[in-house]
Symmetry: C2
Subunit: 331 residues, 2 copies
Amino acid sequence: MTMNLANLTTSEIIEGIYSNNVAIVSKAITLIESTKHEHRLIANDIIAACISRKNDAIRIGITGVPGAGKSTFIEKFGNLLTNLGKKVAVLTVDPSSRRTKGSILGDKTRMQELVKNPNAYIRPSSSGTSLGGVTRKTRESIVILEAAGFDSILIETIGVGQSETAVHDMVDFFLLLKLAGAGDELQGIKRGIIEMADAIAITKADGDNVQRANFAKMEFTRALHMFPPKENGWSPEVLTCSAIENKGLTDIWELIDSYCKNMKAIGYFDSNRQQQNENWLIQYVEQELLSEFYRHPKTKELLPQLKKEVINGKSSPFLAAEKLLKALKPT
Amino acid sequence: MTMNLANLTTSEIIEGIYSNNVAIVSKAITLIESTKHEHRLIANDIIAACISRKNDAIRIGITGVPGAGKSTFIEKFGNLLTNLGKKVAVLTVDPSSRRTKGSILGDKTRMQELVKNPNAYIRPSSSGTSLGGVTRKTRESIVILEAAGFDSILIETIGVGQSETAVHDMVDFFLLLKLAGAGDELQGIKRGIIEMADAIAITKADGDNVQRANFAKMEFTRALHMFPPKENGWSPEVLTCSAIENKGLTDIWELIDSYCKNMKAIGYFDSNRQQQNENWLIQYVEQELLSEFYRHPKTKELLPQLKKEVINGKSSPFLAAEKLLKALKPT
């Protein structure tokens, strides 16, 4: 059956999402990603229809430096979940990504098995230069995917810059992948990310690496013990796994599952989602207001000079700020 | 010699600061803290005169939960510094403080020895309800104190809420005080603070506590080892000390001193200060713009309702945000 996607009405798109029509889900996400005003309006209607649709999905953030084995992990972990009867969607948040400009070949070749899995859907990072823009699109894509019946949303991020924080703020569970060996490869990890993790999985725990992985597990367990507990009372755990040997993945899933059950029981799961929603509202409003300020011709004219004065110690930051604010006031 | 402080001209105040007249320094800080417009204008002139005055001060942030021994530590550490020929100023950032409303008795009785020390100056937290306001006043007070010749600025914060981040952003070195024993008292520490520390000092390492303190030192040293290194290459150290027995304080000072020499040698000390100045400019402008938004009648009218819709899953955060932004646009 061929279908002309271009001619679908908004309610046909919504119906298509509700019935898990993957081609239509993809089209809806494309509309979300579009910068055209008329597409934005349709996208808004679609989101409004999808957001109130009840679902029982969980959102899992997965992060780690390049080389930590993210793609292989997600491929195997995704297949594990579909074997458990779940419908899996994989999103990537990577504002710096160039590979996705016009082509999703990169992501598809990274996860060749999962891409053929009929119960899995892989959507690479939308192109876009601002983290804010990419974040919004990802959050809205989650709404579509959940309305379409995907119940396990895996959101991958590359573990540099601000994107992990953005992903952390949109998921229920945040998993950090680490190679065995606590030394050099810590270089690539952003400070603060360890404290965000709900669990750390030491990857590639196979062959010669097993001992090193177990040692790293012990070291990290001890290190995490030095952190203050999370506000929800959860104590992050450290596990080892091997994606190639399919080891330890079930344990990771069971940990996530028990975390979610726990957090639902104490009401944290829902209150966290509500808090995230409220934060998105506030963040988005603030972002828009500030970007309006930075686009203002007076700002563009004065800010570079004021910055220079402040950096050279010629002006106080506050006096410079007041000068700028005064210049912006309509007279 | 009595002097009528009320009748001083702005240039007399500036001269008084330059000559380390403590009564005038206090008056200048009071002007900074004032909410009256005419005081603000004088304060701005004073800051402009003080900011470009060369000085060689270092700014040390000191944090720890209540009970970690901050007051005793600062008292003894301050005396150590004045014995080394330094001029010490102590500021407190505590926006929640009620003890300072109209009275500084609280701080003065906390540090009875240091308050009598002619080379030390203690100024409690300015009253004020917003962290932003208190932060600004503290930053401007630092400028005054440094122009007055104080070369060791100790900035105490209480280790809860957002104030440690604010203090971290205004100092050269950030010291975390911890009681021995890694267990229960971690409850009070904010997540993320351990990663901000340039050093951790295990306090009250005396009497029965010595063994426990040494064990905590070992545990924290190991834990810090699991963190990625700081961008300046510094590896945070863990030390033990006893303020009562006057032990370990010299080691802490020598560590801070060698840190500063190191960071000056690689150029980080200055570039960090410049970055902090630039951040203050940007943060202050953004804060002002956003508080204008939150004061807007339309915001006050619509935001609570939109938040409710978003929390209940009836509206998407982004659609709600767009509704609000549209309502604010002048038609």
